[in-house]
Every structure is written in structure tokens, then in C-alpha cells.
């Protein structure tokens, strides 16, 4: 299996690569692509995110990655967005008005509203609860805690794309989405200790069509 991790020059790659490497097989090829021409028919593309929505889209655009990601997703490559990477899958974000996202999972990112006993940004561990009987990512159905660091959260247009939610004050926000071969995690699986390891393994199994 070919796994490509997208390098935007600003994102945190070493933790992601470390977490993926723990579950790769000797036949897997793990590569880093910082430009569109470095992406060669991957089975799995990982888009780790850090930073502002506009910075992320600008880097994707400058590096010729937007058409390449879209092309491979249409061809059936699996795509996983992490944190900002999940928000970039959507159409837009309140963080950067007027900037278009990848538009792969319809929806927009909105800033947290202040809630009693909650702070913004949302930093720390929260329980993640799967909203459907998810056979692919079983770790999301075990009410495990995962690590979050963000001020904006993704709101998918279609309820069918909802994969998991987490509580914030008296409400919930979307902590994972999935639409066919594309999924996004608002939390950082690579920083979420043993819960994260379970999920990373499931992501690789999913990309291998083994679960």
C-alpha cells in the first residue's frame, strides 16, 4: 500500500509519521509529498493540519496539491484530514471568510460560542462518541478520550457524513466525519495516546480494505 503524508511546510509531520509507521507493513511505501508532482497514485493520503484555514489552503494551492488531491480522491484513494486538515475538506470557514476549502465533504467550519465552564480554544481531552454503528472505525464507538486543540469546528451539510460527536458545554460538536473514501478527525489521533493508536491502526486497515 502507498501512503502519502501531505507536507504543507507548516504542519506537524513527525508525530503523524511516527504514528503511521507503527502499523505499516514491510510492503507499504510511506512517503511525504510537499508538492503535487510528488504524489504518485496513493492508496491513502493523510492531510495533517495545523494553523489557520487560509494558510492551509494557500499552502495546498501554492504546492499544486489541490487538483492532485481531488483527482486521486475521485479515483478512489482514501483521504484522511486531521484537525485543520478535516476543516480543509469542507467548503469554507468563519476563520477565513472568502477562502474556499477543498469542497470534498460539504460543510463549513464555525467558531465555538462561549459556554459555561468551557474555554476557547478547546484544548485537551474529550470523549468521542460514534453516531452510527461504525464498522470501520470501531475505536470511535468506545467512548474513548482523544486530544483536541482547536477554536473552530466543522459542521457538515449532510447528517449522513457525521461520524462522531463530542460534548462542549451543554452542546455537542462534530469530532469526526466520513463521506465514502474521505474522512476527517478534529482531534489528533497521533497525539491521543493509546486511543489514537487504535484509530490509526483502523485507518490503515480501512485503506487496505481489511476491516
Amino acid at each position: 500500500m502507498k501512503i502519502t503524508v501531505i507536507d504543507l511546510g507548516i504542519n506537524n509531520l513527525s508525530s503523524v509519521i511516527k504514528s503511521v509507521k507503527a502499523f505499516t507493513k514491510t510492503t507499504d511505501i510511506l512517503s511525504i509529498a510537499s508538492h503535487g508532482n510528488e504524489v504518485e497514485s496513493p492508496d491513502l493520503v493523510i492531510l495533517p493540519g495545523l494553523g489557520k484555514f487560509s494558510s492551509g489552503m494557500l499552502e495546498l494551492s501554492n504546492r499544486g496539491l489541490i487538483p492532485i488531491i481531488q483527482e486521486f480522491v475521485v479515483k478512489g484513494s482514501k483521504l484522511v484530514g486531521i484537525c485543520l486538515g478535516m476543516q480543509l475538506l469542507g467548503n469554507s470557514s468563519e476563520e477565513s471568510e472568502g477562502i474556499s476549502g477543498l469542497g470534498l465533504i460539504p460543510g463549513l467550519s464555525s467558531k465555538f460560542k462561549s459556554e459555561a465552564n468551557e474555554r476557547i480554544p478547546n484544548i485537551g481531552w474529550r470523549e468521542v462518541s460514534g453516531v452510527k454503528t461504525e464498522k470501520v472505525f470501531r475505536s470511535l464507538n468506545q467512548n474513548l478520550d482523544f486530544y483536541f486543540v482547536h477554536s473552530y469546528h466543522f459542521i457538515p451539510t449532510y447528517p449522513g457524513d457525521l461520524l462522531a460527536i463530542s460534548g462542549y458545554g451543554n452542546s455537542n460538536f462534530v469530532s469526526a466525519v466520513k463521506r465514502n473514501n474521505i474522512c476527517g478527525f478534529q482531534f489528533h489521533p497521533e497525539k491521543s495516546g493509546r486511543s489514537g493508536e487504535l484509530l490509526v491502526k483502523e485507518v490503515l486497515d480501512w485503506a487496505r480494505n481489511e476491516n
Binding site: 506537524n12 513527525s14 511516527k18 495545523l50 494553523g51 489557520k52 474555554r119 480554544p121 486530544y147 497525539k191
Partner: protein, 249 residues
């Protein structure tokens, strides 16, 4: 939100050092070995502060950060000597989740906005080093220099600069295990909605509860884990049994 217990490692670049009142640093171990142990214990988050970075005119060792990210599966933040956006970028690229900025944030607030513009408004922790429990004097450069800032303007303004979190350090309490400076936690908390990490003096689960009840979202603990048999798990379990919201481990 679940309370975070953040073991804090003070380093001189290679080894772990122990200070008291931001002074008298002595070597007590190997920074990576200590971090690995906390990682294996699945702590909520780690904080690595290089107390000599500014003197060396460097940031915290990139090798050390790389070793952290290659061996830990939990988040870690780093601080010490970060003066430019280039310094910040090196830390994030090496796997740091957040960076701590002290002196540079006070002397050059634009640096924080510049970093937030690229890395987001969750990326920067601003450290406020309070000199003593009476009064609101802020010091920088490991407690060596007093600064004149209007905290009633500076603290509420941090959110607009793009700061993600505030680390309240108490020079007087640091390394002493004599209890956190709760008045400072209450004071800062009353001026901001940003998450607050209380640091300095924590000696027990009760101290952690007091800090949380005063408005902190997390606590940074150094000496207690370094020099007593108390583990992060002990504090976690204490909070759990007293009805506080902590992570499931």
C-alpha cells in the same frame, strides 16, 4: 473539559534541571528519559521548558524535540528562547503541539499575532511570570527583569493577538511545593476566557482542585513528580474520586 495534569520538565538543553524561585539550577537527570517515562505513563500532556535557551541565544534543542515526537504519542509543548516566527516554525515542525512565549510576547506582541496568523490561534501559550504573591509584578528572562505592563489591558488583549492559552508561573512558588498562587489564577481568569495553566508550587491533589476552582483548566507540575513518589496517576485518581472531570486512562 477534562482537567489536564501536565508534568513539566525544565531543561538546560540536555539534562533536566531543578530550580527554586527561577534560580539555582541543578542537574537532576536526562530530559528524554524523563519524558519517555511520562509518555509510557500516558500523561495528559507534557511541557518542556528550556530555562537556559535565552542565555544560549537558541531555542530548545531541535534534536530533543524530534526525539520527543518520535517516541511519544501524547502532546507536548515547548518553551524557551523563541523570538521569531522562524523559531516557532522549527518547534512545530519538530512535533511540538504548542509553544510557550514569555519575554518575546511582552516585548513584541506582534510576534504572537504573526505566529497565530500562520499556525492558528491555538498554537501560542503566553507565559506570565509573577514575581510574588502580593502585587502583580511581571518579570521576564527567568525572573531577572521586571516589566511595566498594564495587566488590565494586556491580559484581555491576548485573545485578540491570537494567544491560545495562558501559563501563570509564580517565581516565588516555583520548585517549592508550597501551594499554587491561587490569587493570580483568579485574577487572570477574571480577565480572560482563554484556558489557563497554573504553574508553580503544586504539591497535592488538593492544590490541583484549588487551582481548578480558581479558574485554571490545567496544572503544570514539576518538583512534585520529580522529587516525591507522587505520580501523575495519583493526582488523576484523587481528582477522579473527588468528582472532578479527568481523562479516562
Amino acid at each position: 473539559m477534562k482537567i489536564r495534569i501536565i508534568p513539566t520538565i525544565l531543561t538546560d538543553g540536555i539534562t533536566v534541571v531543578k530550580g527554586e524561585n527561577f534560580n539555582n539550577w541543578r542537574t537532576v537527570g536526562n530530559a528524554f528519559a524523563v519524558a519517555k517515562l511520562f509518555g509510557d505513563r500516558q500523561v495528559d500532556e507534557l511541557l518542556l521548558l528550556d530555562v537556559k535557551a535565552r542565555e544560549r541565544n537558541q531555542i530548545v534543542s531541535e534534536d530533543l524535540m524530534h526525539k520527543f515526537s518520535e517516541n511519544l504519542n501524547i502532546p507536548f509543548s515547548v518553551g524557551g528562547g523563541i523570538n521569531t516566527i522562524g523559531d516557532a516554525k522549527k518547534c512545530f515542525r519538530a512535533g511540538a503541539e504548542k509553544i510557550v512565549i514569555g519575554a518575546a510576547a511582552i516585548e513584541n506582541p506582534n510576534l504572537v499575532s504573526e505566529i497565530a496568523e500562520t499556525f492558528g490561534n491555538q498554537a501560542v501559550i503566553v507565559a506570565l511570570d509573577f514575581l510574588n504573591v502580593f502585587g502583580n509584578e511581571i518579570v521576564i528572562n527567568s525572573g531577572k527583569k521586571k516589566v511595566e505592563i498594564d495587566l488590565f489591558k494586556f491580559i484581555p488583549g491576548l485573545v485578540d493577538l491570537g494567544v491560545g492559552e495562558i501559563l501563570i508561573q509564580s517565581v516565588e512558588r516555583e520548585g517549592t511545593m508550597s501551594g499554587p498562587d491561587l490569587r493570580k489564577v483568579e485574577f487572570v481568569s477574571s480577565l480572560t476566557s482563554l484556558p489557563i495553566i497554573a504553574s508553580g508550587g503544586i504539591s497535592s491533589g488538593q492544590d490541583v482542585q484549588n487551582a481548578i476552582n480558581s479558574g485554571a483548566s490545567a496544572v503544570s507540575i514539576g518538583a512534585l513528580f520529580q522529587f516525591t513518589r507522587t505520580t501523575p496517576r495519583d493526582i488523576h485518581d484523587y481528582l477522579l474520586t473527588t468528582g472532578f472531570n479527568v481523562r479516562k486512562i
